[in-house]
Symmetry: C2
Subunit: 161 residues, 2 copies
Protein backbone atom coordinates (compact mmCIF):
# COMPACT_ATOMS: atom_id res chain seq x y z
CA UNK A 1 0.00 0.00 0.00
CA UNK A 2 1.27 3.44 -0.87
CA UNK A 3 2.46 5.52 2.03
CA UNK A 4 0.61 8.74 2.75
CA UNK A 5 2.83 11.74 2.52
CA UNK A 6 3.06 15.41 3.34
CA UNK A 7 2.25 17.64 0.41
CA UNK A 8 5.01 20.07 -0.44
CA UNK A 9 4.26 23.54 0.83
CA UNK A 10 6.62 25.47 -1.44
CA UNK A 11 5.02 27.25 -4.38
CA UNK A 12 5.07 25.25 -7.55
CA UNK A 13 5.15 28.10 -10.02
CA UNK A 14 7.09 31.36 -10.19
CA UNK A 15 5.19 34.40 -9.03
CA UNK A 16 5.24 35.98 -12.46
CA UNK A 17 3.46 32.97 -13.92
CA UNK A 18 0.86 32.99 -11.19
CA UNK A 19 0.32 36.70 -11.73
CA UNK A 20 -0.19 36.19 -15.43
CA UNK A 21 -2.64 33.40 -14.75
CA UNK A 22 -4.55 35.71 -12.42
CA UNK A 23 -4.57 38.60 -14.90
CA UNK A 24 -5.78 36.26 -17.60
CA UNK A 25 -8.57 35.05 -15.37
CA UNK A 26 -9.63 38.61 -14.64
CA UNK A 27 -9.48 39.68 -18.25
CA UNK A 28 -11.57 36.79 -19.49
CA UNK A 29 -14.26 37.62 -16.94
CA UNK A 30 -14.29 41.35 -17.50
CA UNK A 31 -12.92 41.90 -14.04
CA UNK A 32 -10.34 44.48 -13.16
CA UNK A 33 -6.79 44.11 -12.01
CA UNK A 34 -6.48 46.24 -8.90
CA UNK A 35 -3.70 46.99 -6.47
CA UNK A 36 -5.71 45.32 -3.72
CA UNK A 37 -6.15 42.10 -5.65
CA UNK A 38 -2.52 41.95 -6.59
CA UNK A 39 -1.43 42.64 -3.04
CA UNK A 40 -3.58 39.87 -1.64
CA UNK A 41 -2.31 37.38 -4.20
CA UNK A 42 1.26 38.41 -3.48
CA UNK A 43 0.81 38.12 0.27
CA UNK A 44 -0.53 34.61 -0.15
CA UNK A 45 2.31 33.67 -2.46
CA UNK A 46 5.09 34.92 -0.25
CA UNK A 47 3.74 33.52 2.99
CA UNK A 48 3.07 29.82 2.87
CA UNK A 49 0.58 28.49 5.33
CA UNK A 50 -3.06 28.91 6.18
CA UNK A 51 -4.56 32.28 6.96
CA UNK A 52 -7.87 33.56 8.18
CA UNK A 53 -9.32 36.55 6.33
CA UNK A 54 -8.75 38.51 9.51
CA UNK A 55 -5.06 37.58 9.62
CA UNK A 56 -4.60 38.54 6.01
CA UNK A 57 -6.43 41.78 6.64
CA UNK A 58 -4.19 42.73 9.55
CA UNK A 59 -1.07 41.75 7.63
CA UNK A 60 -1.93 43.81 4.58
CA UNK A 61 -3.06 46.71 6.70
CA UNK A 62 0.30 46.85 8.44
CA UNK A 63 2.47 46.14 5.37
CA UNK A 64 0.62 48.42 2.97
CA UNK A 65 -1.16 51.00 5.11
CA UNK A 66 -1.41 53.41 2.19
CA UNK A 67 -3.63 50.93 0.33
CA UNK A 68 -6.24 51.26 3.05
CA UNK A 69 -7.66 47.87 2.24
CA UNK A 70 -11.01 47.04 3.80
CA UNK A 71 -11.80 43.62 5.17
CA UNK A 72 -14.68 43.28 2.72
CA UNK A 73 -12.16 43.35 -0.10
CA UNK A 74 -10.21 40.57 1.56
CA UNK A 75 -13.33 38.44 1.72
CA UNK A 76 -14.36 39.28 -1.82
CA UNK A 77 -10.92 38.56 -3.22
CA UNK A 78 -10.55 35.30 -1.34
CA UNK A 79 -13.89 34.13 -2.72
CA UNK A 80 -12.82 35.11 -6.19
CA UNK A 81 -9.54 33.28 -5.85
CA UNK A 82 -11.22 30.25 -4.39
CA UNK A 83 -13.79 30.05 -7.16
CA UNK A 84 -10.99 30.34 -9.66
CA UNK A 85 -9.17 27.46 -8.00
CA UNK A 86 -6.20 29.62 -7.08
CA UNK A 87 -6.68 29.29 -3.34
CA UNK A 88 -8.35 26.63 -1.26
CA UNK A 89 -9.94 26.87 2.15
CA UNK A 90 -10.37 24.68 5.16
CA UNK A 91 -13.43 25.26 7.28
CA UNK A 92 -13.24 25.40 11.05
CA UNK A 93 -16.95 25.48 11.66
CA UNK A 94 -18.20 28.51 13.52
CA UNK A 95 -14.60 29.66 13.90
CA UNK A 96 -14.39 30.47 10.22
CA UNK A 97 -12.14 29.42 7.37
CA UNK A 98 -8.45 29.42 6.64
CA UNK A 99 -7.10 29.99 3.16
CA UNK A 100 -3.91 29.02 1.38
CA UNK A 101 -2.55 29.36 -2.11
CA UNK A 102 -4.00 26.33 -3.81
CA UNK A 103 -1.63 25.71 -6.68
CA UNK A 104 -1.17 22.31 -5.11
CA UNK A 105 -2.84 18.98 -5.65
CA UNK A 106 -5.82 17.91 -3.60
CA UNK A 107 -4.98 17.04 -0.03
CA UNK A 108 -6.52 16.62 3.39
CA UNK A 109 -5.46 18.06 6.73
CA UNK A 110 -4.19 16.93 10.07
CA UNK A 111 -4.60 19.58 12.73
CA UNK A 112 -3.07 20.00 16.17
CA UNK A 113 -5.80 20.82 18.65
CA UNK A 114 -3.25 22.34 20.99
CA UNK A 115 -1.17 24.73 18.87
CA UNK A 116 -3.36 24.93 15.77
CA UNK A 117 -0.65 23.73 13.41
CA UNK A 118 -1.99 22.37 10.13
CA UNK A 119 -0.20 19.71 8.11
CA UNK A 120 -1.30 18.37 4.79
CA UNK A 121 -1.38 14.88 3.44
CA UNK A 122 -2.65 12.92 0.56
CA UNK A 123 -3.63 9.32 0.94
CA UNK A 124 -4.58 7.37 -2.11
CA UNK A 125 -6.28 4.60 -0.14
CA UNK A 126 -8.66 7.07 1.50
CA UNK A 127 -9.42 8.81 -1.78
CA UNK A 128 -10.33 5.47 -3.34
CA UNK A 129 -12.52 4.39 -0.47
CA UNK A 130 -14.42 7.65 -0.58
CA UNK A 131 -15.29 7.15 -4.19
CA UNK A 132 -16.35 3.64 -3.47
CA UNK A 133 -18.61 4.71 -0.59
CA UNK A 134 -20.24 7.40 -2.70
CA UNK A 135 -20.90 4.82 -5.36
CA UNK A 136 -22.42 2.37 -2.87
CA UNK A 137 -24.90 5.04 -1.82
CA UNK A 138 -25.63 5.94 -5.41
CA UNK A 139 -24.23 9.44 -4.89
CA UNK A 140 -22.55 11.41 -7.61
CA UNK A 141 -19.55 12.55 -5.60
CA UNK A 142 -18.61 16.20 -5.90
CA UNK A 143 -16.23 16.84 -3.07
CA UNK A 144 -15.14 15.69 0.29
CA UNK A 145 -13.37 16.99 3.33
CA UNK A 146 -11.47 15.11 5.91
CA UNK A 147 -9.72 16.39 8.97
CA UNK A 148 -7.77 14.47 11.55
CA UNK A 149 -7.44 16.15 14.94
CA UNK A 150 -4.80 15.33 17.50
CA UNK A 151 -1.74 16.51 19.35
CA UNK A 152 1.38 17.13 17.28
CA UNK A 153 4.76 15.69 18.30
CA UNK A 154 6.06 19.05 19.53
CA UNK A 155 3.06 19.65 21.78
CA UNK A 156 3.26 16.10 23.10
CA UNK A 157 6.85 16.78 24.06
CA UNK A 158 5.88 20.00 25.82
CA UNK A 159 3.09 18.18 27.67
CA UNK A 160 5.60 15.71 29.06
CA UNK A 161 7.88 18.41 30.46
Amino acid sequence: MKKSQPVSTSPLIPYEALLQQFKQLLRSNNLKFTKQRETILHALYTHSGHFTPEELYRFIKSEYPQLNTGIATIYRTLSLLENAGIVTSISFGTQGKKYELGVKAHHDHIICTNCGKILEFYDEAIEKRQEKIAKEFGFKMEDHSMKIFGICPECQKKERE
Copy 2:
Protein backbone atom coordinates in the same frame (compact mmCIF):
# COMPACT_ATOMS: atom_id res chain seq x y z
CA MET B 1 -12.45 -5.77 2.38
CA LYS B 2 -15.40 -5.03 4.59
CA LYS B 3 -18.23 -3.19 2.95
CA SER B 4 -19.10 0.25 4.29
CA GLN B 5 -22.62 0.40 5.57
CA PRO B 6 -25.30 2.78 6.72
CA VAL B 7 -25.46 3.07 10.48
CA SER B 8 -28.84 2.20 11.92
CA THR B 9 -30.76 5.32 12.84
CA SER B 10 -33.10 3.69 15.34
CA PRO B 11 -32.28 4.32 18.97
CA LEU B 12 -30.26 1.57 20.54
CA ILE B 13 -31.47 1.97 24.09
CA PRO B 14 -34.91 2.44 25.61
CA TYR B 15 -35.75 5.98 26.55
CA GLU B 16 -35.92 5.15 30.22
CA ALA B 17 -32.33 3.93 30.18
CA LEU B 18 -31.16 7.03 28.36
CA LEU B 19 -33.00 9.21 30.81
CA GLN B 20 -31.38 7.46 33.74
CA GLN B 21 -27.99 7.87 32.13
CA PHE B 22 -28.69 11.57 31.72
CA LYS B 23 -29.90 11.99 35.29
CA GLN B 24 -26.85 10.18 36.55
CA LEU B 25 -24.60 12.45 34.52
CA LEU B 26 -26.29 15.52 35.94
CA ARG B 27 -26.17 14.25 39.49
CA SER B 28 -22.49 13.42 39.36
CA ASN B 29 -21.73 16.94 38.13
CA ASN B 30 -23.98 18.75 40.57
CA LEU B 31 -26.19 19.85 37.73
CA LYS B 32 -29.93 20.00 37.91
CA PHE B 33 -32.55 17.98 36.15
CA THR B 34 -34.95 20.47 34.63
CA LYS B 35 -38.05 20.20 32.49
CA GLN B 36 -36.23 21.97 29.68
CA ARG B 37 -33.34 19.53 29.67
CA GLU B 38 -35.64 16.54 29.76
CA THR B 39 -37.77 17.93 26.97
CA ILE B 40 -34.79 18.50 24.72
CA LEU B 41 -33.46 15.02 25.34
CA HIS B 42 -36.89 13.54 24.67
CA ALA B 43 -37.34 15.51 21.47
CA LEU B 44 -34.00 14.26 20.21
CA TYR B 45 -34.88 10.70 21.17
CA THR B 46 -38.25 10.60 19.49
CA HIS B 47 -37.18 12.33 16.27
CA SER B 48 -34.31 10.63 14.57
CA GLY B 49 -32.26 12.74 12.24
CA HIS B 50 -30.11 15.83 12.37
CA PHE B 51 -31.40 19.10 13.74
CA THR B 52 -30.15 22.64 13.96
CA PRO B 53 -30.55 24.37 17.33
CA GLU B 54 -33.04 26.63 15.58
CA GLU B 55 -35.14 23.71 14.37
CA LEU B 56 -35.16 22.17 17.81
CA TYR B 57 -36.09 25.52 19.29
CA ARG B 58 -39.06 25.98 16.99
CA PHE B 59 -40.19 22.40 17.54
CA ILE B 60 -40.10 22.64 21.30
CA LYS B 61 -41.71 26.05 21.25
CA SER B 62 -44.67 24.72 19.30
CA GLU B 63 -45.00 21.38 21.11
CA TYR B 64 -44.51 22.71 24.61
CA PRO B 65 -45.42 26.39 24.49
CA GLN B 66 -46.05 26.47 28.24
CA LEU B 67 -42.38 25.67 28.87
CA ASN B 68 -41.40 28.95 27.25
CA THR B 69 -37.99 27.61 26.36
CA GLY B 70 -35.43 30.15 25.21
CA ILE B 71 -33.02 29.43 22.42
CA ALA B 72 -30.09 29.97 24.78
CA THR B 73 -31.24 26.94 26.73
CA ILE B 74 -31.28 24.88 23.56
CA TYR B 75 -27.69 25.86 22.86
CA ARG B 76 -26.60 25.31 26.43
CA THR B 77 -28.26 21.91 26.64
CA LEU B 78 -26.90 20.75 23.29
CA SER B 79 -23.38 21.68 24.41
CA LEU B 80 -23.91 19.82 27.64
CA LEU B 81 -25.19 16.75 25.83
CA GLU B 82 -22.39 16.90 23.30
CA ASN B 83 -19.70 17.16 25.96
CA ALA B 84 -21.27 14.22 27.71
CA GLY B 85 -21.17 12.22 24.50
CA ILE B 86 -24.94 11.86 24.36
CA VAL B 87 -25.33 13.83 21.16
CA THR B 88 -22.95 14.47 18.31
CA SER B 89 -22.83 17.33 15.86
CA ILE B 90 -21.86 17.90 12.28
CA SER B 91 -20.59 21.32 11.37
CA PHE B 92 -21.78 23.17 8.27
CA GLY B 93 -19.44 26.12 8.51
CA THR B 94 -21.12 29.49 8.69
CA GLN B 95 -24.45 27.74 8.34
CA GLY B 96 -24.06 26.26 11.79
CA LYS B 97 -24.24 22.78 13.24
CA LYS B 98 -26.68 19.93 13.20
CA TYR B 99 -27.14 17.66 16.15
CA GLU B 100 -28.36 14.13 16.58
CA LEU B 101 -28.68 11.71 19.46
CA GLY B 102 -25.30 10.08 19.58
CA VAL B 103 -26.04 6.80 21.27
CA LYS B 104 -24.71 5.28 18.11
CA ALA B 105 -21.27 4.13 17.15
CA HIS B 106 -18.85 6.49 15.46
CA HIS B 107 -19.68 7.25 11.87
CA ASP B 108 -19.02 9.71 9.09
CA HIS B 109 -21.44 11.51 6.80
CA ILE B 110 -22.35 11.69 3.17
CA ILE B 111 -24.33 14.79 2.35
CA CYS B 112 -26.46 15.72 -0.63
CA THR B 113 -25.51 19.21 -1.76
CA ASN B 114 -28.86 19.59 -3.47
CA CYS B 115 -31.49 18.54 -0.91
CA GLY B 116 -29.36 18.56 2.24
CA LYS B 117 -30.06 14.93 3.07
CA ILE B 118 -27.50 13.40 5.41
CA LEU B 119 -26.66 9.70 5.43
CA GLU B 120 -24.27 7.99 7.77
CA PHE B 121 -21.68 5.36 7.15
CA TYR B 122 -18.88 3.61 8.85
CA ASP B 123 -15.92 2.36 6.91
CA GLU B 124 -13.34 0.32 8.70
CA ALA B 125 -10.70 0.82 6.00
CA ILE B 126 -10.88 4.60 6.33
CA GLU B 127 -10.76 4.45 10.11
CA LYS B 128 -7.64 2.34 9.96
CA ARG B 129 -5.91 4.58 7.44
CA GLN B 130 -6.61 7.63 9.55
CA GLU B 131 -4.92 6.09 12.54
CA LYS B 132 -1.99 5.12 10.40
CA ILE B 133 -1.62 8.63 8.99
CA ALA B 134 -1.76 10.19 12.44
CA LYS B 135 0.94 7.79 13.55
CA GLU B 136 3.12 8.63 10.55
CA PHE B 137 3.00 12.29 11.51
CA GLY B 138 3.67 11.48 15.15
CA PHE B 139 0.27 12.84 16.15
CA LYS B 140 -1.69 11.51 19.07
CA MET B 141 -5.03 11.23 17.32
CA GLU B 142 -8.03 12.56 19.18
CA ASP B 143 -10.75 12.82 16.62
CA HIS B 144 -11.49 13.15 12.98
CA SER B 145 -14.24 14.30 10.71
CA MET B 146 -14.97 13.31 7.21
CA LYS B 147 -17.72 14.43 4.93
CA ILE B 148 -18.45 13.35 1.41
CA PHE B 149 -20.49 15.77 -0.66
CA GLY B 150 -22.45 14.85 -3.74
CA ILE B 151 -25.85 14.43 -5.32
CA CYS B 152 -28.08 11.73 -3.90
CA PRO B 153 -29.84 9.22 -6.17
CA GLU B 154 -33.23 10.93 -5.77
CA CYS B 155 -31.89 14.32 -6.76
CA GLN B 156 -30.02 12.83 -9.70
CA LYS B 157 -33.29 11.35 -10.87
CA LYS B 158 -35.02 14.71 -10.55
CA GLU B 159 -32.22 16.40 -12.45
CA ARG B 160 -32.73 14.05 -15.38
CA GLU B 161 -36.43 14.83 -15.62
